[in-house]
Symmetry: C2
Subunit: 170 residues, 2 copies
DNA sequence: AAAATTAAGTCAATAGTGCTGACTTAAATC
DNA sequence: GATTTAAGTCAGCACTATTGACTTAATTTT
């Protein structure tokens, strides 16, 4: 008993409590939920030798066809050098094509090909189904509470970027 | 016009629609919400030269003090080799200590130190506040809808792991 | 008691994703 | 004509994670 007391001195034996971190249960749930949410797509991506970076790039190009390289770098918040490899692989695989800007010929406007569209739909479908099922099972199908909550989780200054993505204009 | 039509053949100009992917708006919101959610902790971690892997390991050791190395590997779903470096750095930094199992002396039971507890609280506080604020702003404070939704986003077979984390027994 | 299994740790090699810095090319703008 | 901008490239580095092979010590099985 004495030896045990010595060996455990300085350590903390009590788990974190809700009194210390009120949202501890939700922190954990979000961690596991996001992991499973992304795992759906990860499995499909690995068949193509792609990773999450490819998914994100392909996703936004499909969401806003005709976006420039600079647009994509901005929305992904990564560097030009980081994007280049991923973009090259997507172009080489025939999922994305670059077209010289008509107004500004320095720009390379990014468009999905038919296969790029098909791939992004294949990646998005299980994610959409998972959200849909979770909403139904939680009795949230009819309202916008999930969207409201997620919006409020995002930094206020970034919410403008989202509004732009949902808008009709390129 | 003819040149343009040729140049854009095979590409897709239309964005993804909700008729193709019903939950497209929520997919996007979840992506940005999770990014901002983790960014809070990332900033703090970088001050210590730590990454997300350290956060996750430290988190679960604080959540279930006395867990074994095997427990942690299982819950993080990573390999022993991946964990080893991260765990070593956390031990060297004095945030985690290993104590030989009393029943099974092959086991190394993991406990946070006082500094480990303080660090995990510092990392968790902004995440807890963000969730709390988002719930209040969405009018969800009073009920368990967020938790319900997140639970339903997790693969059914993994929900048992969560129940174990929340239980009183080690 | 010997053999097999288990928990943990280690060494080596590899992959994916991201970073910084420095530089080039071509086009647009001042 | 000079400067700035958009995109691309080269080189090197860091972090996180992987697989495979192996060691050590302790426990369990036979």
């Amino acid at each position: 008993m004495k030896a045990d007391a010595d060996a455990t001195s300085q350590i903390v034996v009590e788990p974190i409590t809700e009194s210390e971190i009120p949202q501890i249960a939700n922190i954990e749930l979000i961690f596991f939920a996001y992991r499973d949410f992304t795992a759906d797509a990860d499995r499909i991506l690995s068949r193509f030798g792609f990773g999450r970076a490819h998914h994100r790039a392909l996703y936004f190009v499909n969401r806003k066809p005709g976006m420039t390289v600079a647009d994509l770098i901005s929305i992904l918040a990564i560097t030009k050098q980081s994007l280049s490899r991923v973009l090259r692989q997507l172009i080489d695989a025939g999922h994305i094509r670059q077209i010289e800007g008509r107004e500004d010929r320095r720009q390379r406007r990014l468009f999905p090909t038919q296969s790029g569209r098909e791939l992004v739909l294949e990646l998005s479908r299980p994610q959409s189904r998972r959200i849909d099922a979770a909403m139904r099972e939680s009795g949230l199908s009819a309202d916008t509470l999930v969207a409201d909550f997620m919006k409020n989780m995002i930094n206020p200054q970034e919410r403008a970027v989202l509004a732009n993505l949902s808008s009709k204009e390129g």
